[in-house]
């Protein structure tokens, strides 16, 4: 089963209210510098929408956001354009994009360390209901691929993967690790 349009959200640890406003100038700078792999187009501010996309960095091939969906803060990567290679490559590319975003934000002094980038879980999904309807059949089909991907990242038995089975939502699996992820190591491992 070939999948496209990987949608990956890394949930972030945070406490209480988080002000996303400092993200706006940072993302505008990224557009100016075209500092991602994709062609970056604009920044959208959805802070007024509860449990919404937060601050969105709109790209041509993919969008990045610090979003609040499910009332959980996270860095999301939403691949819009097709990507060559195998499914594993597409998973790796999405996680690499998210982790790179975390690293860049963490290094940006304007956030003043207000965002914690520690994470123990991410949601790996497919943003296309026709390619990947959210049902058991898709899960059965993709489970080995996701298992292979996560084994490579964390080692077998060092994580759990749970299908988020609400049929109206997009297909996704919640991957959790018992300890905070070593993002530097992961980024290194995911390098092309």
């Amino acid at each position: 089963m070939e999948i496209q349009h990987v949608n990956l959200k890394l949930h972030l640890r945070h406490s209480g209210v988080v002000d996303l406003e400092p993200l706006i100038p940072i993302f505008h700078d990224w557009v100016r510098e075209q500092s991602c792999e994709e062609t970056l187009v604009d920044v959208a501010d959805y802070r007024h929408v509860p449990a919404g996309p937060g601050i969105l960095l709109v790209g041509h091939e993919a969008d990045y956001s610090l979003d609040w969906s499910d009332n959980r803060l996270g860095v999301r990567y939403n691949r819009k354009a097709r990507l060559g290679g195998a499914n594993q490559d597409r998973f790796r590319q999405a996680l690499r994009a998210v982790l790179t975003t975390c690293r860049k934000l963490e290094e940006d002094g304007r956030l003043e360390g207000k965002l914690g980038f520690e994470s123990r879980e991410f949601e790996l999904g497919v943003n296309d209901r026709l390619l990947a309807p959210n049902n058991e059949e898709t899960y059965a089909s993709l489970s080995p691929e996701i298992g292979c991907f996560c084994d490579g990242l964390f080692g077998r038995n060092n994580y759990s993967a749970t299908h988020q089975s609400d049929p109206r939502r997009r297909f996704s699996v919640l991957v959790q690790t018992p300890f905070p992820m070593d993002r530097s190591r992961l980024l290194n491992d995911l390098s092309p």
Binding site: R32, H48, V49, K80, L130
Partner: protein
């Protein structure tokens, strides 16, 4: 762009009505032909617009990053999807929702589309449509098929066509309505959709229905075609009819619709609308887009002549069985009553619940049932919320919701006894925000966020106002709570600023050589009486000072108003001169080097620009003189308003005309310091130097505003009525804005600013 695009056609085969299915197939072919450059870009642009596929900001590939304008490097350089519109640039998909009516299945599809093709947000517009932003051209056929499978079309959502037929969202349940207009709106929408007589308009055509004349919900006065339900008794029997209006519209210069028929029988509705469409298509302006709306045709012909032409046309129309068939089918299918008996209302509960009850719930005419309004911030709703809304609609209503012109959603047929549970369900979905249709429920068009025409950040300002007002709404005087605030990003009025108590529209000003986002403060508009009267601009204030404008006006209203006095009456009694004085200090902008906060807009930290700012070749003194002239011209427009307010319409009109002349002279001075005082000479010089060279042409409106100036000059010596003087004032203001725009585009930096 989606990998699944080629699969949806097969997957939904049989689920879409065949005519719509065929239309989408044809559209897909047109996309292919354009990709092969076998279709002209202008033709393709209108083709996609008529499918609701709209352009979006930066789709020309240019974006100012706060320092300089840069090109966005999209992978596909050619073809374009219209003049100056790059193929890869994301666009907006408008989705027509006749009378704002949706069911759960449709909401769920809207959620899927928002997630898969857009940014996870669906946006409710001021005309009861939905819009999805950042949509890619290649995805639109799949998106349309998925909508088609649940009975929604995007056909004629944009372009020179009959746009969404809107209607009061309380139709059928409002205690004050004459009768339920829903089936009539439905029948008209169905009849005019794709009708051959509606394919050759010079501009768009917007119909609206209202169940009564006194409330605002239908806004019929500002529509091309407005129908208000009325009844009368004939031989002891109640007969239904419509007060029919034509030629209303906001836009740059607003027009109140004219009464066409005080009692049009329902069976005459469709043929009359068809006849109006035919007259509009035949006689309406086609070349000059600035005068192509039907309001200009009605104005130029006069309502009596226009009516005579329409009735003549109607008499000539061959009988069409659909006139009656569509009405009878819509009337037969109009029932949506709740099958469950209503219970008693429980008013006890949390303070949040009681506040929500107070602002968001209103009784229906059917005993025991209520309408609950879901207040959407800036009209935005997430995909998850749409799915929750679908569940809520199924659980608490007969599977029905309606969007509103205030960018909200209403739930009808809610049993009173279910309100506490409904509130809980809404709270879980984060949809239980109070303040429906009051001062915190700020309406805004997309503005600079996504609109190609936006000048200032209407959504940024609206979000800021909502945030500030919501934090103190509990302590606010009721008189303040009842005000309406509406914000447009430019003069085009998509945010309906003319009909708000406090309206704002975006303009740009140069201060010390740097562009500063501003909003014109528009006061005196009337929201009720179906948008009964329009406000006028008082003064342009820097964007960042607008919250203080709201605060000051609110405080003055509370302290000085007479018992029961409306805001509109209060402004009228106070006088524009006094109001302007109250705000005047807020118009000042500290220098760029002193405080840069005014040089960027709300929610957008980039240094503000609507074009590149560079050094020109003119002497600084000359430029300073231009700025002085433009400011003087603006003062004259304001004086004209004061004359109009005092009832001296002759003087008002002449002063507005003089203001235009003043602004024109200012621009001429850049090139020709010794411009003579003679009016004819000024017009001649202006035409040669700015019109023939197209320097004054607005990037989007073209020669529209310059033509206001020429028309004003041609009509010199004519008398002024209240309406004509008012129009001249509006046109003068817009012409001056155009002069500001022209000056900004010329990139002239005064020597004083660079010193």
């Amino acid at each position: 762009m989606k990998a699944s695009n080629h699969l949806w056609k097969e997957r939904l085969a049989g689920d879409i009505d065949e005519p719509l299915n065929r239309e989408i197939d044809i559209f897909e072919t047109e996309i292919d032909l354009r990709r092969q450059e076998k279709v002209d870009e202008r033709l393709f642009a209108e083709t996609r617009l008529r499918r609701g596929v709209y352009g979006q900001r930066y789709d020309n590939g240019q974006r100012h990053d706060g320092r300089v304008a840069r090109s966005l490097e999209y992978p596909t350089a050619n073809p374009t999807k219209g003049p100056n519109t790059l193929w890869d640039a994301p666009g907006m998909q408008r989705i027509k929702i006749p009378y704002g009516g949706l069911n759960g299945a449709q909401l769920e599809v809207m959620a899927e589309l928002a997630e898969e093709y857009s940014d996870g947000i669906a946006h409710v517009t001021t005309r009861q449509d939905f819009q999805l932003h950042y949509v890619h051209m290649e995805d639109t056929p799949s998106l349309m098929r998925r909508l088609g499978a649940v009975g929604i079309t995007t056909r004629e959502a944009c372009g020179n066509s009959v746009r969404n037929v809107t209607a009061c969202p309380f139709s059928g349940v409002c205690p004050d309505e004459a009768f339920n207009v829903t089936p009539y709106a439905k029948a008209l929408s169905r009849f005019l959709l794709g009708h051959p007589d509606c394919q050759n308009f010079g501009r768009k055509f917007k119909p609206a229905f209202s169940g009564c004349s006194q409330h605002a919900c239908g806004l019929t006065s500002m529509h091309d075609l407005g129908a208000i339900a009325v009844t009368r008794r004939e031989n002891g029997v109640e007969v239904r009819g419509f007060e029919l209006y034509v030629g209303g519209g906001l836009g740059a210069v607003p027009y109140q619709a004219k009464l066409f028929d005080e009692f049009l029988l329902p069976e005459q509705l469709l043929p009359t609308a068809q006849a109006i469409a035919r007259v509009f298509a035949r006689l309406g302006e086609k070349k000059n887009r600035a005068r192509a709306r039907i309001k200009f045709l009605v104005h130029d012909l006069g309502i009596e002549k226009f009516k005579a032409l329409v009735l003549e046309e109607r008499d000539r129309l061959p009988e069409d069985p659909r006139w009656k068939q569509y009405l009878s089918e819509a009337l037969a299918a109009s029932g949506e009553e709740s099958p469950q008996p209503a219970g008693d209302l429980s008013e006890s509960g949390s303070p949040e619940y009681r506040q929500w009850l107070k602002t968001n719930v209103r009784p229906q005419k059917q005993t025991g049932f209520v309408v609950a309004t879901i207040t959407l911030p800036l009209g935005d709703i997430t995909a998850d919320q749409l799915r929750s809304l679908a569940d809520i609609a199924r659980r608490f209503t007969p599977d029905t919701v309606r969007t509103t012109v205030e960018q909200n959603v209403v739930l009808r047929w809610v049993r009173q006894c279910d309100l506490a549970e409904l509130f809980q369900a809404l709270e879980s979905a984060q949809l239980a925000r109070p303040g429906a249709s009051n001062v915190v429920d700020v309406v805004a068009c997309p503005g600079t966020d996504t609109c190609k025409l936006g000048i200032s950040s209407s959504r940024g300002l609206a979000a800021e106002l909502q945030h500030r007002l919501a934090s103190k709404s509990a302590e606010m005087d009721q008189a303040i709570q009842d005000l309406h605030i509406k914000v447009s990003g430019c003069f085009n009025s998509c945010g309906q600023h003319h009909i708000a108590d406090l309206g704002f529209y975006g303009v740009s000003r140069k201060v010390g050589g740097y562009a500063v986002p501003h909003f014109q403060v528009v006061l005196g508009g009337q929201w009720t009486q179906n948008a009964g009267s329009y406000g006028l601009p008082i003064v342009a204030i820097p964007s960042k000072n607008i919250p203080e404008v709201v605060s000051r006006l609110g405080e003055r209203y509370v302290s000085d108003r007479n018992q029961g006095e409306s805001f509109q009456d209060f402004i009228k009694r106070t006088g524009k001169l006094q109001v302007r004085k109250l705000l005047e200090d807020l118009a000042k902008v500290p220098g760029y080097e002193t405080d840069r906060s005014n040089f960027s807009d709300w929610g957008d930290p980039r240094e503000y620009s609507i074009s590149d700012i560079g050094k020109g070749e003119c002497a600084g003194e000359v430029v300073t003189a231009v700025e002085f002239d433009l400011a003087a011209a603006e003062r004259q427009v304001f004086e004209a308003q004061v004359f109009a307010e005092e009832g001296d319409f002759q003087q008002a009109g002449e002063t507005a005309r003089g203001a235009m002349l003043h602004a024109a002279r200012g621009l001429i001075k850049i090139e020709f310091l010794d411009v003579p005082d003679d009016r004819d000479e000024v017009v001649k010089e202006f035409r040669t130097r700015y019109f023939d060279t197209e320097k004054i042409f607005d990037p989007f409106a073209g020669p529209k505003f310059a033509n206001y100036f020429f028309a004003a000059h041609r009509s010199s010596g004519n008398g002024h009525t209240p309406e004509s003087s008012r129009r001249l004032i509006e046109e003068a203001q817009l012409f001056i804005e155009a002069c500001h725009g022209c000056f900004n585009r010329m990139g002239l930096v005064p020597s004083a600013a660079t010193a």
